[in-house]
């Protein structure tokens, strides 16, 4: 039998209900015992009480019959008296069992004695006799009458002591049953509390063990499982927790292995970038240097077209060197560790704006940077975002008569506050949005707008590294707006 928590709880409920049922039955039975006792008392003493009352009443009625018959000189009435007396005596014979038979027999004899003398006296009085003997007889009759009445009462009177004992017994039974009810209820309450407390303590201990187990798992200590005690629902939960910990441990080990692999790959990539920087640039230097040497040393022997070709060779090497540098910068962002601090984006954007006009063909461009832009970001990396977005904006407003660049905040999305850089330049077709942030992808010809096509890829990489997102809105000829979100950041506080 598995003592599950459900079974334990059911057992406690069943025990309580069962005990209450038993107590109810015992109560009913106790009440019935008392009732039976009371009705026994009633059966035993009520007829006796009635008999006592009737006998006394009948005796008084008999006395009255004799007196009235005598006073009225009513012979006929007097003759009915013996029948009345016999009825009285028969009543005595009907006395219930358990009464004093001898006292009844004595009472009957007394009644007979008195009645005989009373009849004789009555007849003599009706005949108007007088004399001393009559007076004596009357006195004798009155004495006998008192004695008979006394005997009747004595024979029929209730045994009050026995009645009291019977009631005391009932009261005792009632008291005992009351005590039993009280004690049984106390015992039930104690048993329920004790069982409940022991169960709850047991459960709480186990729950704490499970809780501690989960805390350990949370810290990554998967090798110390939840101890398995008992065999109930909590044991199942503990087993599941331990199973989960084993799985997590596997996942954890897998992740660590993956991480080690990634770190190895990253180191390899770093070594690759390093050798790219060294080894790809060296031949470029040779190509450029010896082309220049060719022009310098043998320039006169080379026809003008040859000079043109050599210049193209040199321009191509410059461009390739730039591509390599851009590629390296992109890979450096990927490898860089974020150093987060509160950055004043307004100041940062303005300092970038100041460098925009550093080229020989500088133009006047109106730049508006919103006040109070701050962010929690890596200042060095976020500078690259502004450098690229602002130099793009500068570049692509080159053909505007009133070029305008705006930098500001555009509220907050689920991904955090959003900032934007907007220009009123030539814009682009949103159909090419997918290519926009791909490295070395360009939407305009090199001749119109020079560049290697890593600018926006750099922007995207920096923003992604901050956990944010970058996107753009534009139409051909209607300027472009580049948005980026920075989830670590907070919007400028309202003044």
């Amino acid at each position: 039998m598995r003592w599950t928590i459900k079974r334990r709880l059911n057992a406690i409920v069943a025990l309580t209900v069962g005990a209450m049922l038993v107590m109810t039955v015992v109560d009913v039975m106790g009440a019935r015992v008392v009732e039976r006792h009371l009705s026994a008392i009633e059966r035993a003493y009520l007829p006796q009480l009635e008999l006592e009352a009737r006998a006394e009443a009948d005796f008084i009625a008999l006395v009255r019959t004799l007196q009235e018959a005598t006073n009225a000189q009513d012979e006929e009435r007097l003759n009915a008296a013996p029948a009345q007396k016999d009825a009285l005596l028969r009543l005595l014979d009907e006395a219930p069992a358990g009464m004093d038979r001898r006292a009844i027999a004595d009472a009957k004899a007394q009644v007979e004695l008195w009645f005989a003398l009373a009849m004789s006296v009555s007849r003599r009085l009706m005949r108007n006799e007088t004399g001393e003997q009559l007076v004596i007889d009357i006195e004798q009759m009155q004495t006998l009458q008192r004695a008979a009445r006394q005997a009747l009462i004595q024979a029929l009177s209730l045994d009050r002591a026995r009645l009291g004992e019977a009631f005391t017994e009932v009261a005792h039974t009632e008291r005992m049953s009351w005590l039993a009810r009280l004690l049984s209820r106390l015992a039930l309450a104690l048993a329920t509390v004790a069982l409940g407390a022991s169960l709850s303590r047991r459960l709480l201990d186990r729950v704490r063990e499970i809780e501690e187990g989960f805390e350990r798992f949370g810290r990554g200590e998967f090798d110390r499982p939840v101890p398995l005690t008992g065999d109930d629902e909590l044991t199942e939960i503990s087993e599941q927790a331990n199973r989960m910990a084993r799985n997590l441990k596997q996942v954890d080990e897998l992740l660590k292995a993956r991480q080690a692999e990634l770190e190895r790959t990253n180191r390899e990539l770093e070594a690759f970038s390093y050798s790219v920087s060294h080894d790809l640039r060296a031949p470029l230097r040779s190509i450029d240097g010896f082309s220049k040497a060719l022009i310098e040393d043998f320039g006169e022997a080379i026809p003008p077209a040859g000079h043109g070709y050599l210049n193209r060779v040199r321009a191509a090497t410059q461009r390739m060197a730039q591509l390599i540098d851009d590629m390296l910068q992109l890979s450096r962002i990927g490898r860089a560790e974020l150093q987060l601090a509160e950055v004043d984006l307004t100041a940062l954007a303005r300092s970038v704006v100041e460098t925009l006009g550093d080229t020989p063909d500088a133009r006047r461009v109106e730049v508006r940077v919103a006040e109070g832009l701050t962010a929690r970001a890596d200042a060095r990396l976020i500078r690259l975002v502004f450098e690229n977005l602002l130099s793009n904006a500068y570049k692509f407003t080159g053909k505007e008569s009133a070029p305008l660049i705006e930098v500001g905040a555009a509220g907050r999305t689920d991904e955090g506050p959003v900032f934007y850089v907007r220009d009123n330049g030539i814009g682009f077709d949103e159909a090419y949005m997918g290519k926009l942030f791909t490295p070395f992808q360009r939407l305009h010809s090199e001749k119109d707008f020079p560049g290697t096509g890593v600018g926006l890829a750099t922007v995207q990489r920096v923003v992604h590294k901050h956990g944010g997102r970058v996107w753009a809105k534009s139409a051909v000829g209607e300027g472009a707006t580049f948005f980026f979100s920075l989830p670590f950041l907070s919007l400028p506080e309202e003044p």
């Binding site: 920087s277 060294h278 230097r285 450029d288 082309s291």
Partner: protein, 144 residues
């Protein structure tokens, strides 16, 4: 006279050697240029003696980082560790612009760090400024 001493160019790429010499010529830097093809060769020259049996002194060492046998950082370390060569000006001349290379070079006591430009005209300009600064303006304590 410091500036009359030879320049030690430590460079394994033949093209780079030729381009460097050409840049020096164009800038009329008259010092003798000794070329070492790897780190070991460079140290051997620095620790050796000349024809007259005197210890050699370099006016300037131009040191590439990526070298066969002994790499540039190790060469630099040994130059600084040696009583005889510890004050010789060493300019790192390399293709790399990696932060880690810059930090390592200066930690080992490099006097300067120059990235070789791809554009030859810029390269000539770099050589000119290096020569002007390290051979004409700069003064070094005389060791030994």
């Amino acid at each position: 006279m410091t500036n009359g001493r030879p320049i030690l160019l430590v460079e394994d790429q033949e093209d780079d050697v030729e381009l460097t010499l050409r840049a020096f010529r164009q800038n009329r830097i008259a010092n003798e240029v000794v070329v070492a093809r790897d780190g070991v060769e460079a140290l051997e020259w620095l620790h050796g003696t000349d024809d007259a049996g005197e210890r050699r002194h370099a006016a300037l060492v131009l040191l590439d980082l990526k070298l066969p046998r002994l790499d540039g950082l190790e060469v630099l370390h040994r130059i600084r560790a040696d009583e005889h060569t510890r004050f010789v000006p060493v300019v790192i001349l390399t293709s790399s612009s990696e932060e880690q290379d810059l930090v390592a070079s200066y930690s080992q006591g490099a006097n300067s760090y120059v990235r070789k430009p791809v554009d030859f005209e810029q390269f000539v300009e770099s050589a000119r400024q290096l020569g002007l600064y390290w051979l004409m303006l700069n003064q070094c304590p005389v060791s030994d």
